[in-house]
């Protein structure tokens, strides 16, 4: 298949990439841009491990053809914060024991951030509803919900 040149913004940087039409955004991020934060979990949009922000909204990179996001803005977990400057929600995840194996964590954080942007003071039910597409086998979700809730409170003040 013929490759196409696409231009997109990834974590604030403009990237030009040559992709095949059947290349998935997830694999382009991981293999071409070495951004390993978005994970393969199920490949069919059921687990949320591959969550990224596409123009600020959560999206599943395993079900997006890279060619279709030409001109759009993508944020991966690597764009959220780093060890020098953690995003407050990243810190909240650490403070509340929301991380166990850590494989679902990038997706959970991005979904949590999108929720808080949309609804700065979500109720616990709203948090759970918003997270329901992101599966976690380790934590039972409670610590993740608590971490997001703590940030909601922080915004309240």
């Amino acid at each position: 298949m013929e490759k196409r040149l696409i231009k997109l913004t990834v974590n604030g940087r403009i990237r030009e990439l040559s992709v095949k039409p059947n290349d998935l955004l997830l694999n382009v991020l991981r293999n071409d841009l070495q951004l390993m934060g978005a994970k393969y979990g199920c490949g069919i949009g059921e687990c949320g491990a591959c969550t990224v922000l596409l123009d600020g909204q959560t999206a599943l990179a395993c079900l997006i053809l890279a060619v279709t996001v030409e001109g759009q803005e993508i944020t991966t977990i690597e764009g959220m914060g780093d060890h020098v400057q953690l995003h407050p929600l990243q810190q909240a995840f650490l403070d509340h024991g929301a991380v166990q194996c850590g494989f679902c964590t990038p997706g959970m954080l991005l979904v949590g951030e999108a929720l808080l942007k949309e609804n700065p003071c979500p109720s616990e039910d709203e948090i759970r509803e918003y997270l329901r597409g992101n599966l976690c086998r380790c934590t039972g979700y409670a610590a993740i919900v608590k971490a997001i809730k703590s940030e909601a409170k922080a915004l309240e003040i």
């Binding site: 298949m1 196409r4 039409p21 059947n22 290349d23 998935l24 694999n27 393969y40 199920c42 490949g43 069919i44 949009g45 949320g48 969550t51 596409l54 909204q57 959560t58 999206a59 599943l60 395993c62 079900l63 997006i64 053809l65 060619v67 279709t68 030409e70 979904v111 999108a114 929720l115 509803e129 918003y130 329901r132 597409g133 992101n134």
Partner: protein
């Protein structure tokens, strides 16, 4: 295995369209060999799991003229590229089209809803499509456009079977319109799934119009109980002209349950679906009636 969901292994020619005309041209040109890619949540899953192959893929999500949600003389006109998330967040839908709102709220993950479109949910042709029962009870019309012209198809006539619709290979769904529902109308949607946001074991939508204390219009539609989403006209007829009572609701729900012929599959059993169809329908009827301003 025979599949590899880490990648999209199939090869196809990709075409990105920016106008409706381009899409219609391409569909005519490729003569049945093309598929439409919108949100991709159903289509790419089907391609990855080997349920669908295509030589040409036409990407339409970015066609602005197909992305609108307007109320036109009380007719709600929805462009097929409107995302499920936009529908869920639309104030008018939330206020006046409860069944559609509740259906979309019950669906999938937020991320999926950001990506998936209303048009895609319908054209995918799933018997479990959650947006179908609400549109059935609203008497929605689908506008199907091709280079040959435009035809309007009631949503009832749209579905033919699992993954099958009346959409011809050169046609594109270009509008979903919900007619004026008038005053004192209430609608409701209910669903049972395995875990939250799962595909429905069964879903139901109800739309009722109240004139005085009587039902003057009623539609009932189920999903996941037949090869397509279906209405139950016999049960609807039991309500029209009647004053709603708990007894009538129970009778109608029982009648509806007897009319449907669900199957047993990996999601649930025929018996269970039949049994709970009564329960969800009763609840949906009550809640729709309440929304008409009616009392029980």
């Amino acid at each position: 295995m025979k599949t590899d969901t880490k990648i999209l292994a199939s090869e196809f020619e990709y075409l990105e369209c920016h106008t409706l005309e381009e899409v219609l041209d391409a569909l005519t040109r490729y003569n049945g060999k093309a598929k439409i890619l919108a949100g991709g949540t159903d289509l790419l899953t089907k391609m990855k799991t080997g349920a669908l192959h295509t030589e040409y893929l036409i990407f339409v999500k970015k066609i602005e003229s197909l992305n609108y949600l307007i109320s036109d003389n009380n007719t709600l006109r929805i462009g097929p590229m409107v995302s499920l998330r936009e529908i869920e967040q639309h104030e008018q839908i939330k206020a006046s089209y409860s069944a559609l709102f509740e259906a979309v709220r019950s669906m999938a993950a937020t991320s999926v809803k950001n990506m998936a479109t209303l048009g895609g949910n319908l054209c995918n042709g799933s018997p479990a499509a959650d947006t179908a029962p609400p549109l059935l009870v609203y008497g929605a019309t689908l506008k199907l456009t091709s280079s040959r012209g435009v035809r309007l198809v009631p949503v009832e006539e749209f579905f033919l079977g699992p993954s099958k619709t009346v959409l011809a290979s050169d046609e594109l769904l270009t509008e979903i319109s919900i007619p004026d529902l008038g005053e004192n109308v209430g609608s409701s949607f209910l669903k049972l799934g395995r875990v939250a946001a799962d595909i429905a074991k069964i879903n139901v939508a109800v739309c009722i119009k109240r004139t005085g204390q009587a039902v003057s219009y009623c539609r009932i539609a189920f999903g996941s109980v037949a090869p397509t989403p279906i209405r139950v006209p016999e049960a609807e007829a039991m309500l029209v002209g009647k004053e709603l009572s708990n007894e009538l609701i129970t009778n109608v729900a029982q009648a509806a349950a007897n009319l449907i012929k669900p199957i047993t599959d990996k999601r649930s059993t025929s018996h269970y679906r039949q049994q709970v169809s009564k329960v969800v329908l009763e609840e949906a009827l009550r809640s729709a009636w309440q929304r008409t301003g009616g009392e029980l």
